[in-house]
């Protein structure tokens, strides 16, 4: 079970959080400008890498804030967490 450093509350058990899928997927500004394939790509397709992964979490049972986390999916090592709108920490770009 992960020990997740909420950027607001500090380290808390994974049970307090919900996973929110891959981070840094922006909603297209003009959805109608996208082809069906591009739109499907936005909704459904994710990278699912082995290794460094940027993902969203929400501290559901805590401060209710969404944030991003850089995690190594092979080792579960957390490189860092960072607030929405911030850049990933050094070593996680």
């Amino acid at each position: 079970m992960l020990l997740i450093p909420c950027p607001y509350c500090g380290e808390r058990e994974e049970t307090e959080f919900h996973h929110g899928g891959e981070a840094h997927i922006e909603r297209p500004q003009d959805p109608d400008a996208l082809s069906d394939a591009e739109w499907a790509n936005y909704i459904f397709m994710r990278t699912n890498p082995k290794g460094l992964f940027h993902e969203r979490w929400v501290h559901a049972a805590g401060c209710r804030r969404w944030f991003n986390m850089a995690r190594n999916t092979a080792t579960n090592a957390i490189i860092g967490t960072y607030k929405i709108g911030e850049k990933p920490p050094k070593g996680a770009r």
């Binding site: 509350c9 500090g10 808390r12 049970t15 805590g62 209710r64 804030r65």
Partner: protein, 210 residues
Amino acid sequence: MVKPFLRQSPLAHLHLEARRPLGDGLPEAGIHVAERPHRSQIAVRGQATDPAFLQGIEKALGISLPTEACTASGKPGDLQVLWMGPDEWLVVGGPDNAALIISKLTTALVDLQVALVDVSESRTVIELSGKQARVVLDKGCSIDLHPRSFGPGQVVNTLLGRGHVLLHQTDHEPASGSSAYDIYVHRSYAEYLWSWIEDAAREYGLAMRS
């Protein structure tokens, strides 16, 4: 029509104050419990980076806004502000005081982009204290409550048992090892949480506090 005395807290029907202690044969109860119903609670949303917001709160309440995560300001039993999130606080006062607090806040925070919501009815408070209070919480809460990492004035939104609570430590006596907590619980979960506490505290002895 509906008389004020008919107002009923979520645990009122259990008549906790009339119960005999649990834990036969134990010299003293390790846990004391009481419901502290009907506290005034106002959810306050705003930007902690805005000096006008901070000043407005202080002006309206006479206490400062806790901007450090997981802390509380004010005095237990009196007006308090509990940190809920980076833009969210819970102002807590005695019973039937919410309208007055909201009106003071509204006046002081006029023209600011804030939200004030009366949520007094959403939660009740279970006060848990005693030498074994921390151990009972450890049975269902993953927060490190050891005095080295948690103490009076700290407050966390977390899970206790299978329910969500707002846990506020109000006291700690190093000499006796006794601690006191206010557990804010949503009213629909209150009876579950009471059952959970009663079960977890049984082995340490449980007494009601009036």
